[in-house]
């Protein structure tokens, strides 16, 4: 078996609020191989972003990783010192965020912000960092990189800013790239360009990618494997083909049904009734049962485990 780039086991990230402990991520496990793109899908608030921030160890207070293991190239990130973790961030593991408009510092030039990565991780001087920044901008398809490098973020469009973010994330050829809804804030044509760019870079440099999204179209386009999350837990984990051809969890099925299809005329799209449960009042038994069309009495009592439905396809449901 291929050695895994990243193995997350039983990750638990809790937020201690005044109303109680919110288990945003509650025993999540998955893995990513080199060159593989893993998509994490789910509704807002299901713990996707917290999972990715946990891997970066950037969960902001009052959130805290309280349990589990995050093995990166065999090394547990949760046991690393702050300094060692910093050496990995932006270097071997990097991240692209959802909001290109606000993710760049408005008062520094692109050269300053992009060059910073080279200055701290590769100890390059200013001039070398500038040269590499220009080369990086060129690599992510920014026209006129010599000019753009001197720009401030507000002088660039959203798509261009996201390219700069990608350039920043890929600057040190990371082994793992975490992209948290990288195209959500962009319009559709720019989305396609950014995804295409990520795909080509992923193939060219064998970067493992974790793609966090709620857009199943993006998943179908990009992913090798898919992890479906619901209420802080993994409910299904399968290869992209298997998942689309053979979704097992009622939640996954629901997500698929809510997609418009090219060959059907529909008055109204299907949607999953209800909304994500309040994390402080998790339903007993299966977390999804109040919204599940297949729910039985059993589902309200017994909490299902993530079990192998068949080789390389895990499902958390009593009825599979």
């Amino acid at each position: 078996m291929q050695h895994k780039l990243l193995e997350v086991t039983n990750l638990q990230t809790h937020f201690k609020t005044e109303d109680g402990v919110v288990p945003s991520v509650n025993g999540v496990s998955f893995s990513v191989s080199r060159g593989e793109t893993l998509a994490i899908v789910g509704e807002s608030g299901c713990g996707k972003s917290v999972t990715s921030l946990s891997i970066m160890r950037l969960v902001a207070s009052p959130g805290e990783v309280v349990g589990g293991e995050i093995l990166f190239e065999g090394q547990d990130l949760l046991k690393l010192g702050k300094k060692e973790m910093r050496k990995l961030r932006g270097n071997k593991i990097s991240m692209i965020f959802q909001e290109p408009m606000s993710s760049l510092n408005p008062v520094f030039t692109i050269e300053n912000q992009l060059g910073e990565v080279f200055r701290i991780h590769e100890r390059l001087d200013k001039k070398q960092a500038r040269q590499k920044s220009i080369a990086m901008l060129e690599r992510v398809g920014i026209p006129n990189p010599e000019r753009v490098v001197g720009y401030f973020p507000h002088q660039l469009s959203g798509g261009m800013r996201q390219r700069v973010m990608i350039a920043m994330a890929l600057a040190c050829n990371p082994a793992l790239l975490i992209a948290d809804e990288p195209t959500t804030a962009l319009d559709v044509t720019i989305q396609a360009q950014i995804l295409e760019l990520m795909k080509s870079l992923n193939k060219a440099y064998q970067t493992g990618v974790i793609l966090i999204t709620h857009d199943l179209g993006v998943v179908a386009e990009m992913a090798d494997r898919v992890v479906v999350m619901y209420a802080g837990e993994v409910v299904e984990d399968a290869s992209v083909f298997d998942l689309f051809a053979n979704p097992q969890h009622p939640y996954t099925t629901g997500l698929m049904k809510s997609l418009p299809k090219m060959d059907e005329q529909l008055e109204e799209l299907d949607s999953i009734t209800g909304s994500v449960p309040n994390p402080l009042e998790m339903p007993k038994g299966c977390a999804f049962h109040p919204r599940c069309p297949k729910a039985t009495v059993e589902c309200t009592q017994i909490k299902p485990q993530l079990e192998e439905y068949r080789a390389n396809h895990l499902v958390r449901c009593l009825h599979t």
């Binding site: 950037l58 008062v107 001197g150």
Partner: protein
């Protein structure tokens, strides 16, 4: 920070136009101030009564009133007043028997000295405390700093000034009680003013930093693997300064004429002291001229604040 040069890449012409426009905007403001000053000074009492002894005859009063032009209709007085103003003539001080403007300009260096010294003290105190308080928010240190700045804001200047004199000048004898001259003379008045400004600025920096530390680009900076010091002192502080610098520039210009209490306590020969004395002695020319000078400095301070704001934030466009 050499890569930061918004003035540069926008071209000198835009900046020059902006400056010319800003300076032109000062004119109507000064006109309005001249009118207000003119009216205020004339409705607050009769200078002739103050200048002459109580035993003076009605004839003496008439002579002086005519000599001062106070017998003329009010609009004639205003036209004459404006005409003199345009020639830089703010009138003659009754008390010093000298032109008012030079007397005031002579006091300016002392006022600038005190304002700059107190701003330096305020900055030295408030920047580290404000940052610390934000970074360690809700810790005991934060509670202590927030409490101390509330106290610093609440303590009246006259009380703090007197206490400082009692402690450092009377008891410990390490600073002079009052007056101006050496560096030692500057310490206590600057401290008195600086503490109050620091208290306010600390709170300002704290809340500005808290706001900035929650921004997405701070998370980006951390995700690049930057050390926390660089995240806080470069990425966050520079942004948090934008509102702070604006307010500090306004405060320091207000200080030049506004340090009345501290200047009085420490007998600091600045504008503040001069204004207090002129008001008490009903020395109209000095009052008029000093209000004008202070107003001009505040306007200038505004302009500087505006320029600093643009320098710090490249998103602001020159119009």
């Amino acid at each position: 920070m050499s890569s930061f040069s918004p003035l540069h890449h926008r071209g000198g012409e835009v900046v020059r136009n902006y400056l010319i426009k800003s300076v032109l905007q000062i004119i109507p403001v000064l006109l309005l101030i001249s009118l207000i000053v003119f009216i205020l000074v004339r409705v607050t009492g009769d200078p002739v009564a103050l200048m002459l002894p109580e035993t003076a005859s009605d004839e003496d009063r008439m002579v002086l009133t005519r000599a001062l032009g106070l017998d003329q209709p009010i609009y004639v007085q205003y036209i004459k007043f404006m005409g003199d103003l345009l020639q830089g003539d703010f009138g003659t001080s009754y008390r010093y028997n000298l032109p008012a403007l030079p007397i005031i300009l002579e006091r300016l260096p002392a006022s600038f000295e005190l304002a700059i010294a107190s701003m330096i003290i305020a900055t030295l105190i408030s920047v580290p405390l404000g940052i610390l308080s934000a970074v360690k928010r809700n810790s005991y240190l934060d509670i202590f700093i927030t409490g101390a700045s509330a106290l610093g804001k609440a303590i009246p200047h006259f009380w703090l000034g007197i206490m400082l004199i009692l402690l450092f000048a009377v008891r410990m004898k390490i600073a002079p009680v009052s007056g101006r001259g050496t560096f030692e003379h500057l310490i206590l008045p600057a401290l008195t003013l600086g503490v109050g400004i620091a208290a306010e600025t600390t709170r300002l920096i704290r809340s500005s930093m808290l706001d900035i530390l929650g921004q997405d680009y701070i998370r980006t900076a951390r995700s690049k693997g930057l050390i926390e010091t660089l995240v806080v002192c470069k990425h966050a502080f520079r942004n948090s300064l934008i509102p702070v610098v604006t307010i500090m520039a306004l405060q320091s210009s207000a200080l030049i004429g506004g340090a009345l209490i501290s200047e009085t306590i420490f007998a600091w020969p600045g504008m503040g002291l001069l204004i207090v004395q002129a008001v008490n002695g009903r020395d109209m020319a000095i009052v008029q001229a000093s209000i004008f000078v202070v107003a001009f400095i505040v306007i200038l301070g505004n302009l500087i604040a505006d320029i600093l704001y643009r320098l710090l934030d490249p998103r602001i466009k020159y119009k």
